[in-house]
Subunit: 193 residues, 2 copies
């Protein structure tokens, strides 16, 4: 970060949007944001630094939005509500996610997700304690499964195999089955199709 | 492809390995392969083209190896055998997969997987017909779930959260649960830990 001011970076970021093009160059990002290229370069040393900052900001805002999701009561229903709210955030930030997957070093996306991961972890731990979720696989693995299926849904939407409005129900039905303890029946999904 | 000879490209590719570094530059790839940079550049116009060719080759070889997997009998056990064999291929090609995720256009990795996907599709369709796998989610979605969980396992191995030898069992236990028809019990995994 060195001499670049955090406040100025935040100002620059506020108007920046990768839009629908994860491969947007810094110049294109600057044009779309109505910011001069020189201004943009003065705040971010590289495209990776910009993507990192944009990702951190999007996750921070998303995490704040998830504060309003009711995670009490039946763990399966709570997880369905969390998936529903999270999916809308992922769907809105799809281009940014693709850029982050391409440009950030391994482990960095996960690191940025520490906030939302803590929320998921608490819910999974409660579901395990109440016998709703399986305990024969570790909590970090189950979190990874949820994220992987969500990313997979984003891919399916990008390639046109799934419509965004059906994605949350697909993710929930799949994750609730994956989390079911061996020997217990997979819950019937509440399809609205 | 234009004037570049396919045979010469194949020769160049044979000795090329991204090794453990998905960010290896073309120069580093050339050095590791014992090929001159000029030779490498004469066969591949860009790093993306090299990654695409290396990925196509790895998948072709992997697909041939999967021909020997017995996919008859109980669909769940057949899927476990397929996951086991596929995981070893994914694990060996981890650096290449990361490079492909970063450099190839959306949909290209899936396109390259059309061969292995056809095999999975046949098995899933049989499992559905026999009542072993769920029919309330589409076959393309179930294939995507399998791939996503496999990719997630590769990430977990890369970040040190999972050892490669435990990955196949984790993937199988998770996917078999995800594929279980609603109302039916999740199969007990054959943990060997």
């Amino acid at each position: 970060m060195s001499t670049r001011s955090t406040a100025k970076r935040a100002d620059a970021l506020r108007s920046i949007d990768l839009g629908h093009n994860p491969d947007a160059s810094l110049s294109e990002v600057a044009r779309a944001a109505g910011v001069g290229r020189v201004t943009l370069y003065s705040h971010f040393a590289s495209r990776a630094e910009l993507v990192d900052a944009a990702m951190a900001r999007a996750i921070g805002q998303g995490n704040a939005a998830l504060d309003h999701v009711d995670l009490t009561g039946d763990p399966g229903l709570a997880l369905a509500r969390l998936v529903d709210a999270s999916w809308h955030l992922v769907d809105r930030a799809r281009a940014l996610l693709v850029a982050a997957q391409r440009e950030l070093p391994p482990g960095r996306i996960r690191e940025l997700h520490d906030g939302p991961a803590a929320r998921v972890e608490t819910l999974i731990a409660r579901g395990r304690a109440e016998g709703a979720f399986r305990t024969d696989l570790s909590i970090p693995w189950l979190i990874n499964v949820l994220y992987s299926i969500m990313k997979g849904a984003a891919d399916e939407v990008r390639t046109g195999n799934l419509t965004p409005d059906r994605a949350a129900a697909h993710i929930t039905a799949t994750v609730l089955a994956a989390f079911t303890p061996p020997g217990k029946p997979v819950p019937e999904p509440g399809w609205e199709e």
